[in-house]
Amino acid sequence: MKYLRLRSKIDNWLTYGLIIVAYIVMRLLIAGGNISSTLQGQLVPITAYIVMAISLNLTVGVLGELSLGHAGFMSVGAFSGVITATLLTDAIPMTWLRLALAMLVGGLFAGIFGFLIGIPVLRLQGDYLAIVTLAFGEIIKNVVGTIYLGYDANGIQVSIENNTLQLGEGGKVILNGPKGATGITKLSSFNAGFILILITLFIVLNLINSKSGRAIKAVRDDKIAAESVGISIWRYRMMAFVTSATLAGAAGALYALNYSAVDAGKFDFNKSILILVFVVLGGMGNIRGSIIAATVLTVLPEVLRAFDEVRMLVYAIILILVMLVRNNKTLRQLFQKIGIRRRNSLSNNKEGDET
């Protein structure tokens, strides 16, 4: 507590270090063939979830506003990314460049959505704000599921609700209404995910530890006080919200381009909640915590395969127990007696925000 400045610097380097070491270890495991194919298939989704969790932490932990619609931004990024990548198939043969552009466009579109949605959302407070983010998440899911989009030699065609696309010779449908994007060329890779995490960390950690991040945290702590010292709360809430949405969009593009087909239903309320669980379990404002929670909780259901049918039940019980133990004094003391210690509980979350 005494050396907050120094501690936050060390914390940041630890976070980068963790990611880099984890990446090297995984690379070695893959090279040695010591990794199950299911886990290998999970690598890209894990990296996407890590980016999702870090970006949501910016809204929930650092800005202090509950968002229940983060998957909506992932969705916007996913589909605009897929469209970009597909349209550029012939123009850009380098897959890495196409992927990078897809993530960039995905992030850009999600950021624009974040701004537009932020205008009404950020007029509200607390639970009401949370509900409106939920509503926007559902609207995005619902609307994306009705879009048909394809292209042929004459250009792009779009129709809504009914498939009225009339594509010429060699035309290709990219979005197919409720079926979502089909026939995607897989571009994503573990390497790309790793780089996206590094970029995300760079942006988020540097933002948090700068003038703007300080203002965002001030707005979280006390809006009236922030305004009274000349901080525009609208501006900094918007900055956090849009940055968060942009990164979620890039993660969405990475995620979608890892599959041959993705539909809008993949980015539903449950997905938003999943990400929120990562953030809360990892610790509010604690970026490294988000990374660890996203990884552990994505791998956990795989590990629980031994329990087969009951694994999701076990997952639910673990989730409830962790929340209870961390936030109830009596239970926490009980666990500490048996020797299980935990940092960063929600009840002292305010201290974890320097990470």
Binding site: R5, K211, D222, I224
Partner: protein, 285 residues
Amino acid sequence: MNRTIKKTKMVPLPSHSIIPERDIAQKPILEVRRLGINFGGLAAVEDFNIDVGRTEICGIIGPNGAGKTTIFNLLTKIYQPTSGAILLDGHDTANMNTVQINQAGIARTFQNIRLFPSLSVEDNVKIGLHNQIGYNMLSGIFRLPAFFSGERRARKRAMELLDIFDMTHLASHRAGSLPYGAQRRLELIRALATNPKLLLLDEPAAGMNPSETEELMSNIEKIRDSFQIAIMLIEHDMRLVMGICEGIAVINYGKIIAKGTPEEIQNNPLVIEAYLGKKKGNHTC
């Protein structure tokens, strides 16, 4: 109570307010005319008029619930006035919001301390310096030279300000973990950091012991002298009010019942009846 009474020569203005003679050459920093607000029928503040000189220390006193804090909330646009006009440095503030008011030159503290409890003491002050730190979001993210020079200057300035109250050694502590008196001082420093022309202090000595209050009094005067700003303060501690305020306004039920120098206020029968005379020696109301 009579220990030290401020002896500044006060001169009347056409508006019937008084300001220190030394400030008379310039326009008052604050001119308030017929200010009022209603809360569902209750006139919490009504027909409030005051002028504050450029380097005046001005006190507002009155019993609990009189409407003193509400006046500060109106001046800083946390509440929207239902009537009246506020001129800051000659400019009408009618269309300004809280943020713009601060940027135009009014900074304040709160009766119920409002710090940023999870941030460090130093960061709390730097938030006050926010609009003077000249780099933008992108320089911050990409760590451009402007970021480093801006942060370095902010840190230096923050330390200078903390030094006024001998708080530099607390710079890296969490603001929320400070003792009460230190929190009050930090809030004052944070307000001062925004470079105001007028500083509003809402019960700055509340919860302080006599020696802390003594230090606060000399610091308030020191701040006024070195920054050449006006200070308006709400306070129940009569020793502080009579000791450092040059002009005093007494409020009861949302209205000014008396205005004058400390001497005049002390001898005003209306004031004694409404406020001072009620419970001698008990100024916690």
